[in-house]
């Protein structure tokens, strides 16, 4: 089945430094959708950005990611971390089951902690 592998556990950064959270995936489908969801403390996950176009950069709220099908990757980046970026980040993969309906597979999540 599908799988998503993210940077393990906790990433700690000083404010102002660049952010890079890794995400790689495995799927038999040639046209997957990739997502990054963000979950702040005591909140529910919400979409940060998504892509299904190979080699095209997607940006939202200062974050960006590029889907690279050749390496099955969808890394999340930001040029300068802010304190408010501290949160749990999930990479997720969507494909089409045989029935044609959507299933979203999440990675285990990466906690980003930004300090002053």
């Amino acid at each position: 089945g599908d799988s998503v592998t993210q940077t393990e556990g906790l990433v700690t950064l000083t404010e102002g430094l660049p952010v890079m959270l890794n995400c790689t995936y495995q799927t038999i489908y040639s046209n997957p959708f990739l997502f990054w969801y963000v979950q702040h403390l005591n909140e529910s996950p919400r979409l940060l950005l998504k892509s299904f176009t190979d080699n095209k950069r997607t940006e939202h709220q200062g974050f960006h990611a590029t889907l690279h099908k050749s390496s099955s990757s969808f890394h999340l980046q930001k040029s300068s971390a802010q304190l408010s970026d501290s949160a749990l980040y999930y990479c997720a993969l969507s494909d089409r089951w045989d029935s044609g309906y959507n299933k979203l597979t999440f990675g285990k999540g990466t906690v980003l902690l930004v300090s002053p």
């Binding site: 959708f33 969801y37 529910s44 996950p45 998504k50 299933k103 285990k108």
Partner: protein
């Protein structure tokens, strides 16, 4: 306004008791989901529902069942709750593949 609502938000149950978690959405989405979230394990799919009375098991369905009698409402049932079902449960809804999933606020269940 696009919203997914979960009830109850917090619940404490004794082992062996039945649990009903309810979820509603106002977006007329066909597909709805139940996930559980545990530290270090991320979001794990319990059940997925494609429409009324059209449900399929996710990755961890054991010990759970679901009911969807109206498109806007999706229930998760635990018959005889176990302590290892202590978790935060999230309901979500979404349209076709590639569209955003909208999550509810979560239901924190403690089984003692």
């Amino acid at each position: 306004d696009m919203k997914v609502t979960q009830m109850p938000r917090y619940l404490i149950k004794r082992m062996g008791e039945n649990v009903l978690l309810e979820c509603g959405q106002d977006m007329s989405h066909e597909t709805m989901y139940w996930y559980r979230q545990d530290p270090g394990l991320g979001l794990q799919l319990i059940y997925i529902s494609y429409d009324v009375d059209s449900n399929s098991e996710g990755d961890i369905p054991k010990g759970y069942r679901v009911s969807r009698k109206k498109r806007e409402h999706f229930s998760l049932i635990l018959d005889s709750a176990k302590t290892n079902q202590t978790s935060v449960y999230f309901c979500a809804s979404g349209a076709d593949s590639g569209n955003t999933l909208y999550f509810g606020e979560g239901s924190r269940l403690i089984v003692v």
